[in-house]
């Protein structure tokens, strides 16, 4: 790939060295908070991020540890593999001191994944589900459950058609009663915003519980 990481520098090398100090007055960075948008392939994660983000989604490649359990030989240790995944993200500036980041991360069907970097400090997660391939979201649900991260299951309404209704989805996922299972449309900002607000409600509950103890 013919990518030049410093085109500006090549175009005008002196510009950088003569960098004026006045326009580099320290801007205090915003406090970043993040919400994870997870789910199987093609369920609408990037669409979700793009619908609400103030920038068109960017992509970063990162390592994710996949773990597969030795099912054929239950006594065998689990196998861990590191895979590079492409992660889309976007952001919403709340005000100049606070910025919300959304990270869309693929969960690969049939593999549980571990990604402590991703959940560290996260407010919560929206698990996007396409009901025609409901089991694609299982690894994400398993992971957030075990990580103790607040999450919400969001059934993306592809063409208004839903394979299963919300009760059936809840039954299949067997998530705790306090985990919201809702329907949303990844293409619409208002719908994504409302789904994220439910994630934030869950996060607030957790933060208040933590404050009490």
């Amino acid at each position: 790939m013919a990518f030049d990481p410093f085109p500006e520098n090549r175009a005008a090398p002196s510009d950088y060295r003569a960098a004026p100090t006045d326009d580099r007055v320290k801007t205090k960075p915003p406090v970043p908070v993040k919400i994870i948008v997870a789910g199987g392939f093609g369920v609408g994660k990037t669409t979700t991020v793009g619908a609400i983000s103030e920038i068109s989604p960017l992509t970063t490649e990162a390592e994710m540890t996949m773990e597969s359990v030795g099912v054929d030989h239950p006594n065998r240790a689990t196998t861990k593999t590191t895979t590079t995944i492409a992660m889309d993200f976007g952001c919403v500036t709340i005000d100049h001191t606070l910025k919300l980041y959304l990270f869309g991360t693929p969960g690969q069907s049939r593999f549980s994944f571990m990604w402590d970097d991703l959940v560290r400090g996260a407010l919560g997660a929206l698990v996007v589900v396409d009901t025609s391939r409901i089991d694609d979201c299982y690894p994400a649900v398993d992971y957030f459950e075990r990580a103790g991260l607040p999450f919400v299951v969001g059934v993306n309404t592809f063409n208004g058609q839903q394979g299963y209704n919300l009760d059936e989805v809840r039954w299949a996922l067997a998530v705790r009663d306090d985990v919201p299972v809702l329907q949303f449309d990844a293409r619409f900002r208002g719908s994504v915003r409302d789904a994220l607000l439910v994630v934030l409600d869950q996060a607030l509950d957790k933060a208040l519980r933590m404050r009490q103890t």
Partner: protein, 141 residues
């Protein structure tokens, strides 16, 4: 009245985690492991752990000292980008550097005094911060 749709069982399958066993074909696909020389070269072969508090969303800004420093092209690109605070994820995306590589470069630049890395201790955000996010999102149309 149609018969049962074979593609749509009456009830979806329950989450395997809750069953005793996961499906039998639970094996990572071969060749998924990606190794390339470039990240290794960029980070001078460094594999040591960097501060785990440097996350995707962590804000990074350039220290004035960086403008006089001798830097590699990648480091210089980072220093230029972060004249205004930027997240590690954005640096990674804009420079098309793997996140892991970006994180190491950022950690090195910080150690050299060229970057300020505004780490937030890994605690869960406090209720007031969350309330502000809620208010901010609600005001989005």
């Amino acid at each position: 009245m149609t018969g049962p749709d074979p593609d749509r069982p009456a009830v979806p399958g329950i989450r395997p985690f809750l069953r005793e066993q996961a499906p039998a074909d639970d094996r990572p696909p071969p060749g998924e492991q990606t190794t390339s020389l470039r990240p290794f070269v960029l980070t001078s072969g460094r594999v040591a752990a960097v501060d785990p508090n440097i996350g995707l969303e962590t804000q990074v800004s350039t220290h004035p000292r960086a403008w006089g420093a001798r830097l590699s092209p990648e480091q210089r690109a980072i220093v230029q980008l972060c004249a205004q605070p930027l997240s590690v994820a954005e640096i990674s995306a804009k420079l098309r550097l793997h996140f892991g590589v970006t994180r190491i470069l950022v950690a090195d630049l910080r150690a050299a005094g060229c970057l300020e890395v505004h780490v937030v201790e890994s605690e869960f955000p406090d209720p007031d911060t969350i309330m502000r996010v809620i208010r901010g999102l609600r005001s989005l149309s």
